[in-house]
Symmetry: C2
Subunit: 202 residues, 2 copies
DNA sequence: GATATTCAGTACCGATCGGTACTGAAGTGG
DNA sequence: CCACTTCAGTACCGATCGGTACTGAATATC
């Protein structure tokens, strides 16, 4: 809504919503949807429950906002990778990006989109489904990019863009699982480099 | 203890512990450690809480027994794969096994060892660590097998068994993530087949 | 200065969590 | 048949879950 030239009425927020959301994102990333309680979240965000509800909505709303922030922040390498000039460079950027994003210093290890709700009990079903959609949409975008590479002759005409996309995402997700388990970045980079030595798997 | 020729004293159990453990394994596999409450578990097992505690111990104990059952059941393809005569056949058996085990009809999708506790809040930390150990030990066994393959000349002398093992496990874990998201078996098999077309990634 | 709006804090809610105590049931052995 | 052992069922425990109602605080506007 338009507030140009006018201060908003009412008591101003006493915290930085951007910073609070960053903290919430990291809590979900590290503990998962079910592992993160409201106390974990509000302690990390530095606000009270009622402030959290007023600013972000309920736990599920907050989770989705955190996922969006993750997409635009730590996982933004994926959107950028799609802009690489060749399919091979797209693949390399995806894997190198996965290695870096899953082992950022000062951040949780692994990938929010893989681990924050891979399976779920009844109360976290929506969160899990949101992550499934998030991963499937990433695969679809990769597939579309590889479709274009076939059209442009950058990939052979008989290459299967869906399988190439799924294969690449399997590697990226597998890297994320090992990162979540504590595997060091150098070891993960060896996986990415080995995969690239024989890419594309035709 | 020795009870040959003698009936055990005390009231006999009124349920099949083997069947109950099978049911518990599937609940943890589908819902995860944190997503599975005692009510979910006891309803699926068909017994009361006190029977569950008497027969299996607490939730954490039950989880470990379920993981062991998973290792010897649905995930037993991994131990068998190691017995294949060549490294390439080991790799193929691992990936084919992962595709099958993560999409068994009538069973949850995905892999218990990846998804039942990939990340965790404070109360599930031990369960998550148990799964990290389980996955790392699987990688170590693969690495040892590939070490032997190098020694036997089945893999080139300059091949890196650790990277080959991690790369293969990344693919298997990535397949499990996609299976957990609902990807059909045929699509996953395409990933495995594509990976094998350029295996080993030297 | 009063009113209105929005935010922060606290106490509290009903429900569910993992787990246990106690009582009764079902068996064996003497 | 009684004593002992082990199991099953029920009620209950303290703690924590996600969430809210109410009150006071901090602002802007008139």
């Amino acid at each position: 809504m338009e507030t140009l030239g006018k201060a908003p009425i009412g008591r101003p927020r006493g915290f930085d919503t951007d910073e609070a959301l960053e903290r919430a994102m990291r809590v979900f990333w590290e503990l998962g949807y079910e592992g993160a309680g409201l106390t974990d979240l509000t302690n990390a965000m530095g606000i009270t429950r009622s402030s959290m509800y007023a600013a972000f909505g309920n736990k599920d709303d907050l989770f989705r906002k955190a996922l969006e922030r993750y997409t635009e922040g730590p996982a933004s390498y994926a959107a950028r990778a799609l802009l690489e000039p060749t399919a091979r460079q797209v693949a390399g950027a995806m894997l190198d990006g996965a290695v870096r994003a899953t082992t950022r210093p000062g951040c949780p290890t692994g990938c929010f989109g893989v681990q924050a709700s891979l399976v779920a009990g009844a109360t976290a079903r929506d969160a899990r489904d949101a992550l499934i959609t998030w991963r499937e949409e990433a695969i679809a975008r990769l597939r579309d990019r590889f479709d274009r590479a076939v059209d442009e002759g950058d990939l052979p005409a008989d290459a299967d863009p869906t399988t190439l996309a799924r294969h690449l995402m399997a590697l990226a997700n597998g890297i994320a699982v090992q990162a979540a388990g504590g595997t060091p970045r150098d070891d993960l980079q060896q996986i990415a480099d080995a995969a690239m030595r024989s890419w594309p798997p035709l």
